[in-house]
Structure formats: C-alpha cells, structure tokens
Amino acid sequence: MLLEARGLVKHFGAMTATSSVSLAVKSGEVHAVIGPNGAGKTTLLAQLSGELTPDEGAVFFEGRAITSLSVPRRAALGIGRVYQLTSIFPDYTVIENMLLAHYSTSGHSFRFLRGFGADAGARTHSLEVLDQVGLVERASVAARALSHGEQRQLELAMMLALRPKLLLLDEPTAGMGIEETERVVGLLSRLKGEVAMLLVEHDMDAVFELADRVTVLVYGRVIAEGGVDAIRRDPDVRRAYLGDEESGE
C-alpha cells in the first residue's frame, strides 16, 4: 500500500471535521474523494500532506508512519499537493516557478554564486514538463499574468516536476472553463498509472473517467467506499450526494 490513513479524527472546536476516516491508495491508483461542500475533504488532504495534525489516528506512506512529519519532509518522500486555492509564485516567471520546483528535488539550495537559470539540464526538464501541460509558450511570462486556468496548470506542472509518487489534488478543475477542464482531465488521465493520485473533485464526469476507487465523505464521515461502478449504484450515495446531481441534469 502506498498511502494508508487509519482512523483519522480532527476536531475544530466543537465541530468534528474528520470522523474516524480510513482510506488506502495503492501505487499508480487514482482514488477519488467526493462529498458536498464542507464535508471535510480539504481537511482530510491537509492531514495527509502534513499541514494539519490529526487529533487521533495515523498516516502511513510506503509502510512508514508519517503522522508527525512536517510538510517539507513528506514532500521529500514523494507527496505532492495541489491546493484548492492556486498556490504559485506570482512574481516569478513560469519557468522560474518550474525551476524552483525542480531544484527542490536536487540537493540543498545553499548555492550562492551560480545563476539560478544557468543549469541547462534543469531548464530542459522544466520545459518538457511545461510542454506536457501545454504551457511552454508561456514560459517567460510572469505567473501573475496567467489566466486562472493557466495558473492551475502551472501548479500541476510544478508538482509533476517533483516526480512525486502520490499527488494530492484538491479540486484541480475548480473555476476552469470547459476547454481548460478537458485539458487538465486529459493530462491527469495520461499520468494515470505513472503516479498515484488522491483526487478531490466536484466534476462527476471527471471522477468517473479518472478514478479506480471512490470514497464518499459526508459530514466528515465515510458513508461509502468502493469501485467506481459500485459507488454509482450505491443507493446511500445516490440519495446523499449523487441524487441532486442527476436530477439537476
């Protein structure tokens, strides 16, 4: 098992945002977490990436307990995170954002003299990844000048440059247009198999296209877990969550 969470509990004051949640992600698998707004999806991801410490329970990565490791330590183990709110370096150009991601995987950065962009290998690799997400032409544009969708793509590209084993994706297509959504979903489906993903997503078409397994979260609690088809048929899930989606169409 690549990632395993056992009995996670997280309280915010009197409210229980995560209520004994367990889940497991195999290598190369895409595991979707769905649930209505406020269900505790982001809170769950934060406990897996290390931004929040669970009140109870444990997280294991490749069999090793990581519950008390910091965010940078978990990142170094191969856990990449795409935030719900885009998180990039606005003052830097697209390629500079990429280089910063690239260098985080190659030793320390107490290098004071050599120019930041002088490493041809790092540049080539960064441009390749940008090409993958369709942003090469924008390489020398300041990240703040990108459209919202492009910024999401950049964030995804930065995560790919880390060559993570597991990507934690928090609504990667949120706020994107149809075309951009298609591009991102296409990219993720091409990555499928190479890198495991824990995907929080509202777009059900995307979930059913990408995911191998689905966990349904409501009020911090897992109400169903299983393969895509089983989840589609599950009467509880239809009532609690998918029901209003279907009737809305």
Binding site: P72, A76, T93, L162
Partner: protein
Amino acid sequence: MKRPLPILLFGLLLLVPLCGEVFYTRLFSRIMIHAIFAISLDLMLGYGGMVSFGHAAFFGAGAYTVGILSLHGVSSALIVWPAAVGVAALLALPIGALSLRTSGAYFIMITLAFAQIVYYFAFGLESCGGSDGMRLATRNTVGGWAGLAGHTVYYHVVWGCLLAVFLGCRRLVGSRFGFVIGGIRQNEARMGSLGYAPFGYKLTCFVIAASIAGLAGALIANEALYVSPSFLHWTQSGHVLVMVILGGMGTLLGPILGAMALLLTEEVLSSFTEHWMIVLGPSLIVVVLYARRGLISLLPGRREARADAS
C-alpha cells in the same frame, strides 16, 4: 550596454572627490556607507520579506568592534573589518534563530526588542564611554600604512566596498539561494510543500544581511572617528528602513538611491530650518504615494521594481 544605470551611478560617485571640498567627500562617504547598510536590510526586507526593525543592532555591533579593538591596540583594517563582520554575524545567529520563530508584526517587535537589548548593552559599556560613546584617535591602518586617514583615500575605499557589496548581492539574489529566499517571501506554504524547509534559508539570509550591516558599521566608525550608542538606536533602524522603502524595495540600486536622497534632503533641509523633520515627514509620504515602488521606479527603463532579480 545592458546595465547602464549602475555603471552611470558608480561613475558619477567617482567624480565627487574631484570637487575638492572635504565636506562633500565626507558627506558622500557617509551616504555610501548608509547605502551598504540599506542594501543589507533590503536583502531581508525586499527579497526575503522579513521586516526587521532592529537592523541597527548589527550596524552598531560592527562599529563597536572597531572601538573595542582599538582599546586593545588592534588597528589593522585587515583584522578589524573582518572581525566586525564576524561579530555581527555571531550576534545575528541567536537573534535571527529566535526572531524567525515569529512572523509579521511579532517579527517586527521582537527584532526591535533585541536591538534595544544590544543598545542598552552598549549604553552600559563604560570602557567605551557609556552613553557618551568614545572617540577614535585614528582610522584603521592597512599593513601599517595610515593612508586611510586621508578623506579622499577613505572615500575610494568606501566606494570599493559599496561596489563589492552591490556586485556580491547581485550575484546572491540571482543565485539558487536568492530565488529560494524570494519564493519564501511570495509563498512560504508552497515552498514547504515543494520540500524546502524555509527556516534555514531565512536564517542564512538574516545572518548575511547582518554581516554586511556589520561592515557598514565598521566603515561608519572609521568615517566619523567615534562610536556611540546612537548607532544602535531604534531610530537608526527606522532611518535605514525609510531609505530602502524610499529608494525601492527588492532592488539593489533602490537602497543606494534611497540613502542618497534621504541623507541629501536631510542635509539641505537642516541648513534651512531646524524643524526639518516636519518638512521631511510629509515629503516622504508624498514620494511613497506617487512612487509606490520607490524612487527607482521613476527612472527610465525601470517599470518593474524587481528587474534586478530576474
């Protein structure tokens, strides 16, 4: 030419001693020393996003190193100046390590608090004249040569130091380390999730900035031929903050322009009226309102204040 502005500026500075007035030579020596001090603060402030209100502690530490060593008969600049840099760095290590546990307004307050402790320590140093400070008999020597006593020679030494600091910092901010520091300023959480542990980088930046401030302190002690607790006063920290903000944060030329503009304005205003501070305050506000990115944004070909970093 790719970088005409720095070349023009450093070229013009070379002309100052040619006017033959000791007053101007010494004034511009002081300006360049403060420019070094301001560049060092900008490494933290503009590049690293760390708003320190206690940078004078390191400036003063450099100056007092000159004073204390002179009491022990050590006068060679080749020993004293590196010692001043080292003392400032050693002082910065614990102060930075503790202050960087906080951020935002707390960081401002805690750096100020540490600087006040260092100030009162200097205040109580009886061997250095306590609150009055102490006079230095001569400037530091170089291999037994006392030539630095000449104001024109000293001016050129300071000019060389400023140039070295400017070029060194340009290297630094364009390096991998420099980009990591800038990344932490822009988005510390993202740096964490990329796998960078920000603390060590911030502390290193803090210590480098303090070391350069220590050099500026050694230079000012030699220029003025005295050391006093006033070098460490919190108003000194505020003064250098104003220089950086006035000239343009996040650039290396900005702090030089800021030091020049502020010290020259003070000089001119104080010759007209003793209430010069009342005039200076509002004019600073006007500059900040009309040139948000500092004086440097008013220069041609400088639309982006961060141009130096890219």
